[in-house]
């Protein structure tokens, strides 16, 4: 695993990051950081991590040339990094394997996690089943209702799902409740956080476990195209874990490809109903970290909105915030409607149904591929498969059709 230049010893990416948490958690975060750094430099731990990714997750994931999509859009060559082919159907499992292995190494018997749509919850429950640890997943009541299938999957995997009825009853509140549980049971419990957010060392640790995506991409592109760098890399961002996984191994290179994070613009950034923290947010603090965040003049967090539950989060991780503030990466908004078009486009054209989150990244190709031109190469992180979303997509598409008729 690569050693990245950031964060600094205080957990800062430039001004972003840090540890804005109750004092109770500070010693636990220090203990976690120490244990993580030890594990990371222990060849035995890393070998088991890599072996598990290979044998259980099915890595490396393919880098697939999307010939039909490339022809359809008539511009740059498009490659898909197929994280959707991982066991459990998304990139989330890379991180949960790493963290649950670390929990076991630290002697923690009880695992807690937050989840929105349920992908991180399922990935955590899966890792806990594999390594034989108790698993409790906090999920907003609203998401429990919307994602009944994933709730059943988590239970089937032996996890307990605790519905959260506070606040907006979605991911943000599930995260609050997971942090409250951790504050209460800090001595026995390991908190498996699912994105590159939260207090230090979480943003760095989750990035490191996910960076396998970008590392593989380098090697695969070298084999396929004779070079490490594509011209652009595109990934969707909510908290930002799949995007960091493919961006970070490139972000500190000189020269580096264009890195483009696609934010969920919901009904449009100007509508106020969106989850675009860079385009529509300000620098703020939530869940222990300084980052771009959606909040009002009084500092109250504004609920995010997106058709995809996985991007429905009011902040973007501190390393992305740093990339955005320093021009390392660009962040562009894609609306619900555009994402649904991307969802259809990839399905029809390539026979691959992407997650609604990932569909945001696909949608951006419509402008990017022709703009870059034929001699260029784009890699898209195909972060998850869309099976979980077909019911919700059907409902939203019907609504849109009916609205168009009316």
């Amino acid at each position: 695993m690569q050693n990245f230049p950031l964060p600094d010893a205080r957990g800062r990416f430039g001004r972003f990051g840090g540890r804005y948490v109750p004092e109770t958690l500070i010693p636990a975060l220090e203990e976690l950081n120490t244990a993580y750094l030890e594990a990371k430099s222990d060849p035995v731990f890393m070998e088991e991590f890599e072996r598990t990714l290979r044998e259980f997750v099915g890595r490396p994931s393919l880098l697939y040339f999307a010939k039909n999509l490339t022809e359809r859009l008539g511009g740059a060559k498009i490659y898909l990094k197929r994280e959707d082919l991982n066991h459990t159907g998304a990139h989330k499992i890379n991180n949960t394997i790493g963290q649950v292995m670390l929990a076991k190494r630290m002697g923690k018997k009880r695992i807690i996690a937050e989840t929105g749509a349920g992908q991180h919850g399922v990935a955590t429950a899966t890792a806990c089943a594999l390594f034989g640890l108790e698993c409790i997943v906090y999920q907003g009541e609203e998401d429990v209702r919307r994602q009944a299938l994933n709730v059943f999957r988590m239970k089937l995997l032996g996890a307990e799902v605790r519905p959260v009825s506070s606040g907006t009853r979605t991911l943000k509140d599930a995260t609050n409740e997971a942090i409250r549980d951790w504050v209460t049971n800090v001595r026995s419990t390991f908190y498996v956080l699912g994105s590159v957010v939260g207090p230090h060392p979480y943003p760095a640790m989750v990035r490191d476990f996910q960076s396998v995506i970008g590392e593989e991409t380098k090697a695969q592109l070298l084999e396929l195209e004779g070079r490490i760098n594509p011209d652009a890399i595109v990934a969707c961002v909510g908290g930002g874990s799949n995007a960091i996984g493919i961006f970070a191994p490139y972000a500190y290179l000189e020269p580096r490809p264009r890195l483009i994070g696609v934010e969920a613009a919901g009904h449009g950034v100007e509508s106020g109903l969106h989850a675009a923290s860079v385009a529509g947010g300000k620098v703020g603090v939530l869940h222990g970290s300084l980052m771009y965040l959606l909040y009002d003049n009084n500092g109250q967090i504004v609920p995010a909105h997106s058709v995809s539950a996985g991007l429905d989060y009011p902040g973007i991780g501190p390393e992305h915030s740093y990339y955005a503030a320093n021009g390392v990466a660009e962040y562009v908004p894609i609306t619900d409607r555009e994402a649904l078009e991307g969802f259809k486009l990839l399905s029809e054209c390539e026979g691959i149904i992407p997650a609604l989150e990932t569909a945001h990244a696909i949608a951006h190709l419509k402008t990017l591929a022709p703009e870059l031109g034929k001699d260029k190469i784009i890699v898209v992180n195909l972060s998850g498969r869309g099976d979980k979303d077909v019911q919700e997509a059907m409902r939203v598409m019907n609504d849109m059709e009916n609205a168009a008729k009316a």
């Binding site: 500070i26 506070s166 609050n176 703020g284 869940h287």
Partner: protein, 257 residues
């Protein structure tokens, strides 16, 4: 002597711990906050005015719900300052604002401090801002004469105790349990040991909160600490609309050494 020092020294001269109460601004309603707070201040030595926040991750269900209600009632940063200013007209007791960091960041640290001082507030308590992250807030508060209370927990190591006691300028707030705010059956046995360790590293007053809700739990804290912080139990009584003076009297009696 500033008002915070006065609160602790008055209590000490009466052989008791200081009674530090908590009530969110705009709660139970915008209209009844003043009367409720004034009732509490007839008994308490100091009041923490909660500036409600959408994501209070250090709080249990009672204060979460109270904060949600205060926000629904329309409470804001400016409204919280106005509530403090109004209380200050009739009271010389120590007033704190207790909130999370984002409302301060949103307002601007310097502007927030200026607003608090102008409203007659004596100190800030910010459960999600450890001293490590307060390097800009600390000098600004010091210049303005606003005190900062940082928190310690049962998990705090000696290094943390040294840092937090050195950084706190009002009093030191020791959290009695690993957990969130809320009434509990008893005070953990480890509290005297924790308070002892803190007092060995500072002469500043040490108050204990989280889980104090009645005579017995106040007594358990008063035996070892300089102050007793009560929040959720008062919020519950205030929401019920009866029994608040009786509860305050009971806790004040429990503060007796």
């Amino acid at each position: 002597m500033n008002r915070i020092e006065t609160a602790f020294s008055n209590a000490k001269s009466e052989s008791r711990a200081a009674f530090i109460a908590y009530l969110p601004a705009g709660f139970p309603t915008l209209e009844t906050f003043q009367d409720t707070a004034n009732t509490i201040l007839e008994y308490a030595d100091a009041l923490e005015i909660g500036l409600p926040y959408s994501d209070p991750l250090g709080d249990g269900p009672t204060i979460q719900k109270a904060g949600e209600r205060a926000l629904e009632n329309g409470m804001t940063v400016a409204g919280t300052f106005a509530a403090a200013r109004e209380l200050r007209k009739n009271s010389d007791k120590a007033l704190f604002i207790m909130t999370y960091y984002n409302p301060i960041l949103a307002t601007g640290e310097a502007e927030f401090i200026a607003g608090a001082v102008a409203a007659g507030v004596d100190g800030l308590i910010l459960p999600d801002l450890p001293p490590d992250e307060a390097d800009t807030l600390i000098p600004l508060a010091e210049q303005a004469g606003l005190k900062l209370t940082f928190l310690l927990a049962p998990t705090s190591t000696q290094d943390r105790i040294d840092l937090v006691t050195a950084s706190s300028t009002g009093f030191v707030y020791a959290v009695s349990v690993t957990g969130v705010t809320g009434a509990r059956v008893g005070i953990p046995e480890e509290v005297p040991l924790m308070v002892g360790k803190i007092k060995a590293s500072t002469d500043k007053p040490v108050a204990v909160g989280f889980g104090v809700s009645n005579f017995e739990t106040a007594q358990a804290v008063a035996r070892v600490a300089d102050g007793v912080v009560v929040g959720s139990a008062l919020v519950t009584a205030a929401a019920r609309g009866s029994g608040l003076p009786e509860l305050c009297a009971e806790i004040l009696a429990g503060c007796k050494k």
